[in-house]
């Protein structure tokens, strides 16, 4: 049967409609991971300074134990709401799954090797900064780009916190979480609410 329609226009119009429908997803993930990371590393710093017990250096694991199930719940909710998933959303999710796994594995490996004070926290800070920067570039959202860059710079500087100063790496990581995740996450959520972008 011969079809009579303007195929190129159909393609262009459909793509245009899809672009309009692209609902932003994952706007809560920055806030979730930022708040948990900042909170647990701050708590770890306080407990370590007060008690000086080896178990205090494992407080950060709470981030993983609470964060992963919560993230899965948020993603499921997002997917059911949106009915479709964009390439950008998938790339961003893959980047953060990689970063999350790298941070968790790195944390456990350094922790089990009793070398947590080496480079674990500066590396995690750097990864968070880079992740926020790349996400900001994909989302075209400037606060994430700036927050990511600032986080990466703080992460690089925190490599110098060695010797007696190593405990400050925990505060530095908490600061990176606030600068790269919590503040941009809050601004992004606000922007989605007001502009839908």
């Amino acid at each position: 049967m011969e079809e009579n329609f303007d195929a190129l226009e159909v393609i262009a119009r459909t793509r245009g409609k899809v672009d309009m429908d692209k609902a932003p997803t994952g706007e809560n993930l920055f806030l979730l991971w930022g708040t948990l990371t900042a909170g647990f590393f701050l708590l770890q710093f306080v407990l370590w300074e007060l008690l000086h017990q080896p178990w205090c250096l494992w407080v950060w694991a709470g981030t993983v134990l609470i964060g992963w199930p919560w993230m899965i719940l948020l993603l499921r909710k997002d997917h059911n709401r949106a009915h479709c998933r964009t390439h950008e959303a998938k790339v961003i999710l893959d980047i953060w799954v990689f970063i999350g796994a790298a941070c968790a594995i790195g944390g456990f490996v350094f922790g089990l090797a009793d070398k947590f004070e080496w480079f674990a926290m500066p590396l995690i800070s750097l990864l968070i900064g880079i992740g926020a920067f790349v996400t900001g570039e994909i989302n075209r959202f400037r606060p994430k780009i700036i927050g990511g860059l600032a986080g990466a710079v703080i992460g690089i500087i925190s490599f110098t916190l060695q010797g007696e100063l190593w405990t400050w790496q925990m505060l530095s990581l908490a600061l990176v979480s606030v600068v790269s995740l919590v503040i941009p996450g809050f601004l992004y959520k606000k922007s989605v609410k007001t502009n839908g972008i």
Partner: protein, 95 residues
């Protein structure tokens, strides 16, 4: 002057809409495609099956009855077919 034939599977408005949408997305469910194309559930279902049989899209179904959830995703072969289709169309216009 000779023209290449248009891919008959894609030269259908509804199937082309589905393919163009899926090419712009990572995946989309049946509800989304139905709303986007404004097609009836029956017609959309038939066209999706044709695209799936041709290997242009991958369909994953979960659940049964009213609670069932169908998610579609374009394959590499589907993306290439859509690109070839557009190129052929452009040749029609340029010659």
């Amino acid at each position: 002057m000779e023209f290449k034939d248009l891919n008959p599977l894609l030269h259908n408005e509804l199937r082309l809409k589905v393919m163009a949408a899926l090419d712009s997305l990572d995946d989309a469910d049946f509800v989304y495609l139905k709303g986007l194309t404004k097609a009836t559930a029956g017609n959309l279902s038939v066209q999706i099956s044709k695209l799936e049989e041709a290997g242009y899209i991958k369909v994953s179904r979960s659940g049964e009855g009213r609670g069932s959830h169908t998610v579609c995703r374009i394959t590499q072969a589907g993306s290439k077919a859509l690109l070839d289709y557009q190129r052929t169309l452009m040749e029609y216009f340029s010659k």
